[in-house]
Structure formats: structure tokens, C-alpha cells
């Protein structure tokens, strides 16, 4: 197949109305073949079945980590919400001062506390 014909075919394969299956067959016949190398199947089977336990361990580790992370994240969110509620109940607002425990104090009392006068 001429290069110009192949180019035409490549463009036509993206037509909404075209028969993509037939065109992809023609493109493949023209030489545009994407394949894995010889022995691909054996390599896959070897990875799965000979080092199977290692892969299983890896997969299980990832799954456990996800599970633990999920639990920790949920607990963390719950703790943050409780903390916010308690601060709001005690200080009456959620400002930065409330977070730092400075909600009740005025500037002078803090100054006295820091300088001792």
C-alpha cells in the first residue's frame, strides 16, 4: 500500500460513519502491527505463578495499607470534627484565637502574663 493511501485510511478510520473494524484490518494488513515480543505469555505466567507469593504479598500489603489509611483517615476526621465542636461550645466561635485558647483573654492580661508586670 502506498503511503498516501495509508494516510487516507488513517484519517478515514476516525470518521464517525466509517466501518472502523474493516479499516483497522486494512491498516494492520498494511503493516501497522503492534505486538508484544516473542515469549510474552511465558513471561506473564512466570511472573504470576513462580513469584506468585511475592506478588500476592505485595497486593495484600497495598490492600491492607489502603484499609488502614481509610480507618485512620475516618478517625482523624471524626477527631477534628469533635475538636471543632468542643472549641465552638467553649469559646463561642471558631476564630484563630479560639483555636489558640486566647478567646477569653484581652491583650493586657496576656502582656501581664508574658512580662510579669
Amino acid at each position: 500500500m502506498k503511503v498516501s493511501d495509508l494516510k487516507e485510511l488513517l484519517i478515514r478510520s476516525l470518521d464517525k460513519e466509517s466501518d472502523a473494524e474493516a479499516i483497522s484490518g486494512k491498516i494492520e494488513n498494511a503493516g501497522a502491527v503492534l505486538r508484544f515480543s516473542e515469549g510474552f505469555q511465558s513471561k506473564v505466567l512466570e511472573k504470576i505463578f513462580s513469584s506468585g507469593s511475592a506478588v500476592i504479598r505485595k497486593v495484600e500489603f497495598a490492600r491492607n495499607m489502603n484499609y488502614v489509611f481509610y480507618r485512620i483517615a475516618l478517625t482523624g476526621v471524626a477527631a477534628i470534627v469533635l475538636l471543632l465542636i468542643s472549641i465552638f461550645m467553649m469559646e463561642g466561635s471558631l476564630s484563630l484565637d479560639s483555636f489558640l485558647g486566647l478567646g477569653g483573654g484581652d491583650d493586657e492580661s496576656i502582656l501581664c502574663l508574658l512580662t510579669g508586670n
Binding site: 488513517l10 472502523a20 494492520e28 502491527v33 505486538r35 504470576i48 500476592i56
Partner: protein, 186 residues
């Protein structure tokens, strides 16, 4: 070597046997679908050894997720989705890497090595397709690979990519425009 009897088995029989740890059965699944996975992975990442690693990963992931395959969709669709997800993850990983450590552009992070062909003409054809694909925007490349290399209809493409049909159609038309520009320069 896969026994002849496995070649006659249906998808569901092979899946069941593989779940029981039957190496030959899973080997038959790999044989049946490796070319399909190669077209997707190499079509999107380029024809290089790294694509082979992703291809292997696709089947390893398939093996460990076979228990989740309920048989509602075709096995080929299920495998195709795994292949697309892993390939997109690899593209994201490469983008991150190249944005941090290299000045290379989008197109240069995908290499291709043209495999040996029996004729010069076929080699040229393969080179042309690989070059055109690698110069495409990765967003369109997936649609092009599904259509041009796999021969899926627009409906099948939408189903596999979990996209509305309208989105596939509009991307297809934009991809076609981009393809015309790219091929005009090659």
C-alpha cells in the same frame, strides 16, 4: 505450551479455571487477548520495551482481580479497561517525571522502536502509524487507538472509556483534524 483442549473453552470456563489457579487456563486468556492489549498499550505509549512491562502488568492485575469479574460485560472489555487505566497512569507518571526533571515536550516522552518487518513497505507503514500516534495529544490518542487500531465502533469506545457518546464523537472529530495536520507534515 497451552494444551489444545483449552483453546476450545469458553471465556467463563477459562475464568473459572484460572480462579482455581489453573496456569494453562490463564495462559490461554493471555494468548487470546495479548494482541488487543498490545494495540492499546503500544498505541498509547509507543512501541518500546516499557510498553511490554505495562502489558505484563495488565495481565498480572487481571489475574488478581478475576474474582471481581462478574461476567456481566465481556472479558475483553474488562481487560481493555485495565489496560487503559494502567496506560493512563503511566502517562500521568511520565508527565510528572518529565515536568520535574526534563525539558522534553509531551510528544518526546513516548518512544517507539519499529519492530522487524518482512518488507520495507510494512516497516514504513508501521513507522508512519507510530509517529502519527505519538504526535497526537494523549487525550485524543486513546480514542484514536480504540478506533484505528482496535476497530471499535463509537458506541463500544464510549462504553469502554466510560464516556458519553457525544463526548466520544466530538473528540473523534477533533482527533481527525489533528491527525490530518500531523499526517500532512509526515
Amino acid at each position: 505450551m497451552i494444551k489444545e483442549s483449552y483453546r476450545q473453552k469458553s471465556e467463563n470456563e477459562l475464568v473459572k479455571a484460572s480462579l482455581g489457579g489453573d496456569k494453562q487456563a490463564f495462559g490461554e486468556i493471555v494468548t487470546r487477548y495479548q494482541n488487543m492489549v498490545a494495540r492499546t498499550v503500544k498505541g498509547m505509549l509507543g512501541d518500546s520495551v516499557f510498553s511490554e512491562d505495562i502489558g505484563q502488568e495488565v495481565f498480572i492485575k487481571l489475574f488478581y482481580s478475576l474474582s471481581e469479574f462478574r461476567g456481566e460485560a465481556k472479558l475483553s472489555t474488562y481487560i481493555q479497561k485495565i489496560a487503559i487505566n494502567l496506560t493512563l497512569n503511566e502517562i500521568k507518571r511520565r508527565k510528572r517525571f518529565f515536568s520535574m526533571f526534563s525539558q522534553k515536550g509531551n510528544n518526546e516522552m513516548f518512544e517507539y522502536e519499529v519492530a522487524d518487518h518482512d518488507t520495507q513497505q510494512k516497516k514504513e507503514a508501521s513507522e508512519l502509524v507510530s509517529k502519527a500516534l505519538m504526535r497526537m495529544d494523549p487525550k485524543f490518542r486513546i480514542i484514536v487507538a480504540m478506533r484505528m487500531l482496535q476497530g471499535y465502533s463509537t458506541r463500544e469506545t464510549a462504553e469502554i472509556l466510560d464516556l458519553p457518546l457525544g463526548t466520544v464523537l466530538s473528540r473523534l472529530s477533533r482527533a481527525q483534524e489533528q491527525m490530518k495536520n500531523i499526517l500532512g507534515k509526515l
